[in-house]
């Protein structure tokens, strides 16, 4: 008798997750379509003027920023929602009673979610390039991709933490929204950086990981910066992702460790039956 390989089990889980994701229109809408609609809206609102103090066009700023938003929506919001829904339905418990190793099931889910996030980013950038004249810089693409991987891992870990903390499916979307949306306004995702921001807002945003994801990713699309991005210091308009990745790594690891400790496989706490 041959036991299915771990790779095979992973692919089985990944395949099931992909089916489920694309069959639930709301999740697909928020990951892929909603950020695109925002790009259309912002481009229509601001035209394609250069925005100060960045010195880039509105689309050159918004395409990467909203790509980050789409990716984060997918691995933070959708992933936490789907984990909690599966837990409430007893799906996690059922699978834990099968030979599927639990970490592999979670791995398949996370990878499926990250794959959707990648598609959302590629679609956003492609539409930016084709429809709004967004420029790409080959020297920065590697850094953009590494930033994507670190950022998505960080927010996936935080998504698992939200799932672990959420008491039920109804509580999950408000928990995700309340933590993500306000941050998006101060983290150079919905609104470009401006010299007039209150300094305490800057301090708050610097503390959380979203701004670091947005900055490190958007830097790859900023024609006024130099270098490949793999640098620690941004002195002299150097494109530097490493400090941002470090912050996201700290958040991701802390969130992941807490999520593993708090994760539940069943709806309610144990009770007598």
């Amino acid at each position: 008798m041959t036991r299915p390989s771990l790779l095979r089990l992973f692919l089985v889980q990944f395949g099931a997750e992909q089916r489920l994701f694309w069959r639930s229109p709301i999740a697909a809408f928020f990951s892929v379509i909603f950020p695109l609609l925002m790009l259309l809206t912002f481009a229509a609102l601001f035209g394609n003027d250069r925005i100060t103090p960045l010195g880039v066009t509105a689309s050159q700023f918004y395409a990467p920023a909203l790509a980050v938003y789409g990716a984060v929506s997918t691995v933070y919001w959708n992933l936490s929602m789907s984990l909690v829904t599966s837990r409430e339905l007893g799906v996690l418990k059922r699978i834990r009673g099968t030979p599927m190793p639990p970490w592999l099931m979670l791995g398949g889910r996370l990878t499926s979610s990250a794959w959707v996030a990648l598609l959302a980013v590629i679609l956003m950038v492609t539409i930016g390039v084709l429809g709004y004249g967004v420029a790409l810089y080959p020297r920065t693409l590697a850094a953009a991709f590494v930033t994507f991987l670190v950022g998505v891992s960080c927010f996936a870990a935080l998504g698992c933490l939200i799932a672990a903390l959420s008491p039920n499916a109804n509580a999950t979307p408000p928990m995700a929204a309340a933590t993500l949306v306000p941050l998006a306004f101060i983290s150079e995702v919905f609104i470009p950086p401006s010299a007039s921001s209150a300094s305490w807002l800057t301090t708050v945003a610097d503390f959380f990981p979203l701004k670091h994801f947005a900055r490190a990713f958007s830097g790859a699309f900023n024609p006024t910066l130099h270098g490949s991005g793999f640098a620690w210091s941004d002195a002299g308009a150097t494109y530097a992702i490493l400090p941002h990745l470090a912050v996201m790594a700290v958040w991701g690891i802390a969130g992941g460790v807490l999520a593993v400790r708090l994760f539940r496989w069943e709806p309610r706490p144990e009770k007598v039956r």
Binding site: R8, L20, R94, G97, T98, P101, E270, V272
Partner: protein, 298 residues
């Protein structure tokens, strides 16, 4: 004597200050259909979930197919099938996708289409799970429990909430599984279900096994007497009425006997001598229900 599929020794499970399983010991032989019968809250689900590896015990020893379920992991799970009490199905997958997913996790699964046919879901093969009726979902869950061709199957209250005809169908399925030589552990709070399906029954109440036996011998049922009852006309004097009869209220007279023929003869002779008719005269063997209610009385 066959090999033991499951052995449980002195298992204890506590939740906070409540002891849900209080020193249970039992042995389940290979190929046996074993029913854990008890009222809600008796601890049967807790016990079964310890065997399945879903919960950790606070004391005692457990062996399931030779594994400790707390650490049996993938190797043990390749040989057991679990049909949970509730759901756990993704509504947006189809029946065949769901069964195929589970089949692909096991080293030697059964044929997916065969399993779907056996549980009678052929027509629903391509339906999404969310569109199935409650009974159809239950049948799908049974399919998932057997598709890995496990040696041991856990059925947690397999027919709770079923209508009578769906119950009969589920019973037929369990009997079919048994025909394949599988060991089956089922929990139920229906006495007739345990009686209809099980080779052996353990009655659990307040976390303890209060009786164990075959459906015929459980609680020494075969040793108990038959119950004879009747209602003499109002105002009849019970003088001269043979033992063991005593009034039991509302005009009824009842007695338990191990020699029902003789007792019945004596009581009809008594009635004929007085020229009276015995209303509602019945002889009843002790029912499993009486035994069960006696055993689980709190």
């Amino acid at each position: 004597m066959s090999v033991a599929a499951v052995t449980v020794e002195n298992v204890v499970k506590r939740y906070g200050g409540v002891t849900a399983v209080d020193g249970v010991s039992l042995t389940i032989a290979e190929g046996e259909v074993f029913a854990l019968l008890g009222p809600n809250g008796a601890g049967k689900t807790s016990l079964v979930e310890i065997l399945e590896g879903h919960r950790r015990r606070d004391g005692g020893n457990v062996r399931v197919l030779g594994f400790d379920p707390a650490s049996g992991g993938r190797t043990m799970r390749e040989r057991i099938g679990i049909v949970l009490q509730e759901g756990g199905l993704e509504g947006e997958l189809t029946v065949v996708e769901t069964v195929r997913y589970h089949a692909s996790l096991f080293p030697r699964p059964k044929d997916v289409d065969d399993v779907i046919r056996v549980v009678g879901l052929e027509e629903k093969r391509r339906s999404q799970v969310r569109l199935l009726s409650g009974g159809q979902r239950r049948r799908l869950e049974l399919a998932l429990g057997v598709v890995g061709d496990p040696d041991l199957i856990f059925l947690d209250e397999p027919t709770t909430g079923f209508d009578p005809s769906a119950r009969r169908q589920a019973w037929d399925l369990v009997r079919a599984l048994r025909g394949f030589g599988k060991t089956i552990v089922l929990t139920t709070h229906y006495m007739d279900e345990a009686q209809a399906l099980a080779d052996r029954i353990a009655v659990i109440a307040r976390g303890r096994i209060v009786a164990e036996g075959t459906p015929a011998t459980l609680g020494d049922r075969h040793l108990r007497g038959a119950r004879v009852r009747f209602r003499p006309p109002e105002g009849t004097s019970l003088d001269g009425l043979p033992a063991p009869f005593v009034p039991s209220g509302s005009g009824w007279v009842e007695g338990e006997t191990k020699a029902p023929t003789e007792t019945l003869h004596a009581v009809t002779a008594w009635a004929l001598a007085r020229g009276i008719e015995l209303d509602g005269l019945t002889v009843m063997p002790p029912s499993l229900e009486d035994v069960y209610l006696d055993l689980t009385r709190t």
